[in-house]
């Protein structure tokens, strides 16, 4: 591709997240399952990384390890030069389900990180209102989560993950449960949020178009045991729009990923 990014955001250190020889095994006897095998990758600060793979390829396990929620066996995982030994305050996680606490209002759900991390409540409240406005939930602050649609719940959970202004946003198939139209809209919103915040984002997905549409790079994983097959750079200009899905670069990337899945016999 000869197209260059018109306003390529200046990015930080190229090895912001650095994973070397990472393997993860569940269980310890002969029944144990090797979930991840020898993962090596680096993630540039401020970049958007999509991780795509069929179910059971260990992509959620990888995310949970980076989030510090899961201990790992072999290898090293470093963030900003420091090994990950547990959860970090500068990481925000968006889970598969929105996990809004049903006894709290939408606003109080978004405020949860402020309470847990002991941030200034007044300032956080203002920020929570701003974030809710950004994800299109103005006027829903005092609603109960169960009164919201699935897409709105997931948007509220994105606002929650951003409240404490984390440097890294980890998203574990956040749009998997949404219908196709809502999903496209959420993809556009996520791109906008990322572009305006300069955060490093890792997005786990099993949708090839979603991975290509959002990612600067796409990590392609194959299962049994989960390994990183290829890193594909997506050279589409930003901001991207849905029309680019028919661009040749998009099609060739999609083709390359499907080929990888077909070869590994994992595209069920």
């Amino acid at each position: 591709m000869t197209m260059t990014m018109a306003a390529a955001p200046s990015k930080g250190r190229p090895d912001y997240i650095n994973i070397r020889g990472l393997s993860k095994r569940f269980g310890d006897d002969e029944d144990s399952v090797l979930a991840l095998k020898n993962i090596n990758c680096t993630i540039e600060q401020g970049s958007f990384v999509s991780v795509v793979g069929p179910s059971g390829c260990g992509k959620s396990t990888l995310l949970r390890i980076v989030a510090g929620l899961l201990p790992y066996g072999e290898g090293s995982v470093q963030m900003d030069g420091q090994p990950i030994i547990g959860t970090r305050r500068d990481v925000g996680v968006v889970f598969q389900n929105s996990i809004l606490l049903p006894w709290r209002s939408v606003l109080d759900n978004v405020m949860l990180p402020a309470e847990v991390l002991g941030l200034d409540i007044k300032a956080s409240r203002r920020r929570a209102m701003d974030l809710l406005a950004m994800v299109g939930l103005s006027g829903f602050e005092q609603k109960q989560p169960l009164q919201l649609s699935g897409g709105m719940q997931q948007r509220a959970s994105i606002a929650r993950a951003l409240l404490h202004d984390p440097k890294i946003l980890l998203m574990d198939e956040p749009f998997g449960a949404l219908d196709a139209l809502t999903r496209e809209q959420m993809n556009l919103e996520l791109q906008r949020i990322w572009a305006s915040s300069g955060k490093t984002v890792i997005l786990i997905t099993h949708s090839i178009p979603e991975a290509i549409f959002l990612g600067d790079v796409v990590f392609v994983m194959t299962p049994r045991p989960g390994s990183l097959e290829r890193v594909i750079r997506i050279d589409l200009p930003r901001p991207r729009n849905m029309d680019m899905m028919s661009a040749p670069a998009f099609a060739s990337a999609a083709h390359e990923i499907r080929d990888l899945f077909n070869h590994s016999g994992s595209f069920d």
């Binding site: 990481v91 389900n97 996990i99 606490l101 049903p102 006894w103 309470e115 847990v116 991390l117 404490h164």
Partner: protein, 288 residues
């Protein structure tokens, strides 16, 4: 009034909703069950005379009303009235319920937070749970005497287990995603407990409290049957001895009222605390 209403309704259509409301009330199940009650009471009142049932077996309903009135019309401290004995029983029920369910809840929390405590205590709980607690009532009365405290102890034993068991179940049933959410924010153990675990377990805990409330009244009455100087259970025994069956029925009514009031109070608290829960849980998922 009844005969007039339709006439008024035809004149001014504005009044029609009132008629419709009245019709709906008559058609409602609640009204039907009131009619059923009236029919049953009438059958009781006149049936005993018709079938020649002796008074000490089953007095007419009017005798129960008379006994209720005479028991309630005495002074609050009179030892032959319902106020004094009802108050004693109420203290036993409430005191035992609060202590028993409180201890059950705290122990349930500790057991669900500590694997060690769980393994240590669980076998004893299982063993003690299978024992019918009322069987121990005579021993407790022997140990603690005929006063209020022995009845409270019995109520504590009866109310402790349902709350313990349901709270453990509640803490075990928590969506692990919710805990991961808090962990991802580097939450402390106490934050995870107070912000997620406890509120998540509340529906279970309230189910246990419901059962405990019913058991509390049973425990107090059994305790008073075994040995006491005052309380509604003592009154039932005395009235039984005097073949005052109408009086016994009057006490039953008061006991039923006490149970209903306790359950209603619990429901009110539950509605406040669990206002976020959908009225019909089947309609929408709670886990969302």
């Amino acid at each position: 009034m009844d005969t007039q209403t339709p006439a008024v309704a035809t004149e001014t259509p504005v009044r029609r909703p009132k008629v419709a409301k009245w019709r709906r009330a008559v058609a409602s199940t609640r009204f039907h069950s009131l009619v059923l009650l009236a029919l049953l009471l009438a059958f009781w009142q006149f049936g005993v005379g018709f079938f020649n049932i002796p008074k000490f077996v089953l007095p007419p309903f009017s005798d129960v009303v008379v006994a209720l009135y005479s028991g309630l019309s005495v002074g609050p401290l009179a030892h032959d009235g319902f106020w004094f004995h009802g108050f004693v029983t109420l203290v036993e029920v409430l005191g035992g319920f609060l202590i028993g369910s409180g201890v059950g809840l705290v122990l349930g929390m500790l057991i669900s937070e500590s694997r060690y405590l769980d393994d240590l205590i669980r076998p004893y709980i299982a063993a003690f749970q299978s024992l019918p607690k009322v069987a121990i009532a005579p021993i407790i009365v022997m140990w603690m005497g005929y006063g209020v405290d022995s009845k409270i102890a019995i109520v504590v034993m009866l109310t402790f287990f349902p709350v313990l068991v349901t709270s453990i179940a509640g803490f075990k049933a928590i969506d692990p995603d919710r805990i991961d959410l808090l962990r991802s924010l580097s939450a402390t153990r106490w934050q995870i407990f107070s912000k997620v675990k406890f509120p998540s377990a509340l529906p279970y805990i309230f189910a246990g409290l419901d059962v405990a409330a019913a058991f509390a009244v049973v425990g107090a009455i059994v305790g008073e049957f075994v040995g006491a100087q005052s309380g509604l259970g003592v009154m039932i025994l005395q009235m039984d001895a005097q073949l005052d069956t109408g009086g016994s029925f009057a006490v039953f009514l008061i006991l039923a009222l006490m149970g209903v009031a306790l359950t209603a109070a619990l429901r009110a608290v539950r509605r406040r605390v669990l206002s976020w829960m959908p009225e019909q849980p089947s309609r929408r998922p709670v886990s969302a």
